[in-house]
Symmetry: D3
Subunit: 136 residues, 6 copies
């Protein structure tokens, strides 16, 4: 069993806002992250897959293929977008890093070859704050 | 003459949009950076000042004092804000990294002690794209 | 189950010294790390907690709360201190990175909310040397 | 149980080439990585070992000893070398990052002290592409 | 005057070899960098241009245009190549980082718009060794 | 004219303390940096030299020779040392980053070959605080 990791990058705007709460309650809980006019981040996405090495190629998976999957199903949908307004797979979801990491996991899984399993999605919203999800 | 550099950090939303142009022209020129719903960045701000060392302290300037100036007059006004809507010193200015670096220069200069000169403002909007301004 | 990671930073002096040994034996075993006049490091502290996401906030834990816990119970006690002399929870402990990581674990655990479990404490004493502890 | 990580670095040339295939098939599968005249990388090697802390030293293992093992049995054999031609433990092996990580694992294991177990070998061929092996 | 910096990346093989010298002299002068079977690097290329801001766009130059110039005239010609054998603008040139930085400068200059001047080419062959050229 | 940069690293203890002042005055001015029991840093040293390229080697200077000069005359004297007590060229000097950068400049200059000029010494005491000296 070998693990392969690919780093991707996207820039997005978001705010933290629970529509079931008043504006005041949102500001009390989320502080400046609730700014009505949005703020944004350079997100670092670190995806790890696992499986057996193909003896013909020496690869678990061609990292260019993995990168293409991440590009089409994750980064193109998030890059230079508003996480609360523009992203089909985040509609109705509170745009926290935790929820975004899980949503990204769900975006990737259907597109991996059958011999490659998704191991983890790690998502940094700043260089000092990251979230990791292992699928359960 | 010694040069002292301090790195700061802020997260903000923005879009690139020239109000004198149609939406179509903006999208043609600025591409996905013109997204009406905004996008955002983790900005890295690298400020260098210069001058003579104070023999009593061995300091050009106490870096905590420099950091406080940057916090009050730059980062607190930009962090978790919308550069196009929320920032007094950016109102009416196209929110490019170039223009933001110059605006930050102008925010800092009035607050430095007289023996300390601002040398450069370097501003990275992604780890791979940065702008530097030397005041003229 | 989601994992949330926070990076903190502190600067400290220390030396490696076993008081049961002679100075010569300490120098033989610890080399330049035994320098009687101390040396020091910029420590990078990487703390990971785990648990379920609160559906109201989208958070495992507000990362500002986690950061405050780390600030009060770890970084304020270590930053700009001498690990061998100034730190109550390191007194009588050999100030290796291994022992410091375990001591930091014990400093954090009592202060986490009951729904949040400490997963790991990773401590880098240089960019190339790190230690990780998982609590057992 | 404590985990200790050491980062090492080496620069090498390689190409991806399966000798059972035609040049055309190699180019089709491996693209520019199959360039007959080679290409190369700065490899980042991140080795983690685990075990109990020695109470006399506070160490799992003296990190200088670990670094010496990695230097002699891994880095000296790979640094400024051609992975396909110059490295005894890679002869006949397709020089993918996956295979190299496993070969490095096998180079390290025989040389660790009995109280120290190898936990993982992580190998980055670029800052965005890495492989990790846990020994099974 | 504003300065804009773009970071690019390429991986290449090379060796240091002066054809006017014997193999022995090459090995004596260049050491392991003269390895006949090549070695390689992940090169980090940091290009800075300068000029006036266009008031209509807030840009010195659209960084995507700068990146395209660097891609076509520099990175596509160097990435996954052998610097001594595969690169038209390095033929007959000793493949040191110094000479490569100057050659890259000459590749870029003819393709910049007239209002944009090349300020510097910085080229790192490892994270700890870099060269910078300012055009004279 | 070409510029060559080499990054080195050392770990040291220090405190900021002006012996002409009372302990109270030192604490008032230097805050926690005046801690009597010392604190410490991982210093990053970035040295840039300049001159003409030797056409026989393609080098300004063999970077291994530059690194050896830095090792012998700077890093070996500072690494795992106390800047206030153990370093001959810092005795009687307030151990600020500013003063240390200038002292390092003076350590390097006498040992460079005549065709190589020292351009700058940049010294980071944390990843966010650095000083640069150009020799005048």
């Amino acid at each position: 069993m070998i693990f392969l990791t690919r780093h991707e990058h996207f820039n997005a705007a978001h705010k933290l806002f629970n529509p079931a709460w008043s504006v005041e309650k949102n500001e009390e809980v989320f502080g400046k992250c609730a700014n009505a006019n949005w703020h944004g981040h350079n997100y670092d996405l670190i995806v790890t897959v696992k499986g057996e090495i193909d003896p013909d190629t020496g690869f678990l998976i061609d990292v260019k293929k993995l990168s293409t999957i991440l590009q089409i199903h994750v980064c193109d949908k998030l890059d230079h977008k508003n996480l609360n307004l523009d992203v089909d797979f985040m509609l109705g979801v509170l745009a926290s890093t935790e929820n975004l990491a899980i949503a990204i996991w769900n975006q990737i899984v259907p597109h991996l070859p059958t011999n490659v399993k998704l191991h983890s999605v790690k998502l940094y919203e700043t260089p000092r704050i990251g979230v990791e999800y292992f699928g359960h």
